[in-house]
Homo-oligomer: 412 residues x 2
């Protein structure tokens, strides 16, 4: 059979968007056409490119077997993606805003049209977390996903720790090196990571999770001082996304968190992304790699295109319904600036105890009239800890508002 092969049939790709990622994607298709032909038996071919100033969506759609959406943002991307799926075309996108805010509508449209909607590039660049949650772990009940899914903040925190500099200094360096945008708010305030965690929670638990249901905090408030005390306590700081099953509910959140040194995410430095998936049956899988840059995202998008070239339409997973929790259990690092006078530690400890917050370790440091009191607590319901710190903030010896950061413990 293999002696008289004809030219392989073509697989036509319509490309929407021709920015950094779009241009890199087009170049990769040309460069790797031979290898893709060997894997899939089909010849990939760009059948049209839509840019801001040229190209016609309807003409591209009519020609294409699959649409790659790299425009970004909600509209017109959303309209194009829905129309393409309703016309029976598979869609590959790297658009996290779209998926985290309109996931229900998009997945329903894919299901009705029996087409594939793939989006590895939307979460952690070429780190294959979507693929692993959807296929490799189809036979595992997932308990928790922990992720460093924003490279900008991971770079900033790494530099703050390494060079003992402030957030502003590290941000300026990230901007200089191209790891942060001129307006870094979406990254440093945690909203980008929250969108990605909404997508991961949907995949891990088969539940519809919207960006609005994800609690998020950023890293602007982190000081070199926090880093220094953490070092003394043997901890390292990350902006951590968490999606976890708690009883019959889910919690999805993003906040800075200290990790003990043996945690699989503790050693992930610089602009890298990493995700740990925990399941009782398999313990845990960790995947790490460069966060979203042009070539990485383009590679992830092409990986999705190749996967879609193999199968025909497969209906996406149906959703289950799980309530989303807002109050969960965490351990905390608590940083207090207090007057250096007798009885302050006892006073603070009393308030904590009254709210059921138990202290694991304490570092106290006096500096003439003022002292710094740093504590790490055992795990406690966050609402209780917040009530305790609210009360502590009103104590007479307090010299500044209490500061706190969550701590991920070795055994939860």
């Amino acid at each position: 059979m293999s002696d008289c092969r004809e030219a392989p049939p073509k697989f036509r790709i319509g490309l929407l968007g021709h920015g950094t990622v779009g241009a890199a994607f087009a170049a990769l298709v040309a460069e790797h056409a031979g290898r893709i032909r060997r894997i899939t038996g089909l010849e990939p071919e760009l059948c049209g490119v839509l840019t801001r100033s040229s190209g016609d969506f309807q003409a591209i759609l009519a020609e294409a077997d699959l649409i790659v959406e790299l425009i970004g943002g909600i509209e017109p991307a959303k309209g194009y993606v829905l129309e393409a799926m309703r016309a029976g075309r598979h869609v590959v996108t790297a658009n996290k805003q779209l998926l985290s805010q309109h996931g229900d509508e998009l997945f329903a449209a894919a299901g009705e049209a029996q087409v594939q909607l793939r989006f590895e590039g939307a979460v952690a660049g070429v780190v294959p977390v979507v693929r692993v949650l959807q296929e490799s772990l189809a036979g595992a009940r997932i308990d928790r996903v922990h992720g460093i899914v924003n490279g900008t903040t991971n770079f900033i925190l790494s530099e703050m720790a390494r060079q003992r500099i402030t957030f502003d200094q590290a941000l300026a360096e990230a901007q200089r090196l191209g790891y942060a945008e001129a307006d870094p708010s979406d990254d440093v305030d945690g909203r980008d990571a929250a969108a990605k965690m909404a997508i991961l929670a949907r995949l891990a638990f088969g539940a519809p999770v919207h960006l609005d249901q994800v609690r998020y905090e950023g890293i602007r408030q982190i000081t070199p001082d926090d880093m220094e005390y953490a070092r003394e306590l043997g901890l390292g700081l990350k902006l951590l996304g968490t999606a976890e099953r708690i009883g019959d509910a889910l919690s999805v959140r993003v906040h800075p968190a200290f990790l003990y040194p043996g945690h699989p995410l503790a050693s992930v430095g610089g602009p890298f992304n990493a995700v740990t998936v925990e399941s009782q049956a398999i313990t845990e899988i960790t995947m790490s790699g460069p966060g979203a840059g042009g070539p990485q995202t383009a590679t992830a998008v092409l990986g999705d295109v190749v996967s879609a070239m193999i199968p025909p339409a497969s209906p996406p997973e149906e959703m289950v319904t799980l309530p989303i929790l807002q109050d969960v259990v965490s351990a905390f690092y608590l940083h207090l600036e207090v007057a250096d006078e007798p009885g302050v530690l006892a006073l603070v400890a009393q308030v904590l105890a009254a709210h059921g917050v138990s202290v694991k370790s304490v570092v106290q440091r006096g500096m003439s009239e003022q002292a710094t009191l740093v504590m790490v607590t055992h795990a406690v319901l966050e609402s209780r800890f917040e009530a305790a710190t609210a009360e502590i903030s009103r104590l007479e010896p307090l010299r500044a508002p209490p500061r706190f950061i969550r701590v991920i413990e070795e055994e939860f």
Copy 2:
């Protein structure tokens, strides 16, 4: 359309082998049938099980859409797998011996029959390296794969470092905990890792690589002393598999190697597996998780079954031909027991220099009449280093044969 769904069509799985992994697989299929139905639209069903004492292969084959082979070893597994593919059935296997020794025949049969041959469970348990090399990175030119692909040896080396015990002591502990078999030769001598690296090399480079072409060494010769000097030099020891492109050739090998602390594999401890894939376009991806245990391998096998349930037959990748190199460039840790007399260091350094081996760091320790000389070299062609150590072993002040271990450098 979704309002009047009928019972989904069945997808029948024939299971060959019912040991630890086979039994765990059967249980997972039953447990996760609902989720698999949601993902694939098909109802998975075991249509027959072949054990040593019961079941009929022909009857199972006639019923099955897909055959899962978990018998292990070469025959009768090979005959069954070939016959199943020739009969048009997809095959999922976790059999590394079969794939590393008869890969050409198996992949050719899959290609001719246009069926899928999937084998995630054969390499690193549920760590998704096969899937990533075949699909995610279809659009990336892979330069190198580094892997810790044997959990037994990684556990032993971790315990030697942690408890400062000997190989024999750590092996006994691994056996007690079920991480090593009664006859541990395949694991501790590196043959198991070599089989897995042959499979990974085939995937990464699309080249036919046979187990016989993989050079391998094990870890029996590693001493607590080596570990101690390595600690002083800031290095950690792993049994490392490497498959790399060197010009227009390949090198595939397994040997103990020291890693600098920042290497993504350096923090992988205990019975875990991990693989780093390097490509210029994407820098690197690292994946880690538990090595092959019953539930992990069964989960990986089921992940493959789910992937195969989505598409129809896809022809496997055609092979390219790349020569396999045996002599490559490495840095080395060199451990010498010498008489403690003037001029020994000069003598050794002279021999090294004569063979083009350049020294990066030296630790010397005297103990009455004898001294230990430990060096780390810069990267050099291995044949040169071997010639140098052969000459050093004949030097008069030498008190024991030279010992050496490769060192993976930060920048190669």
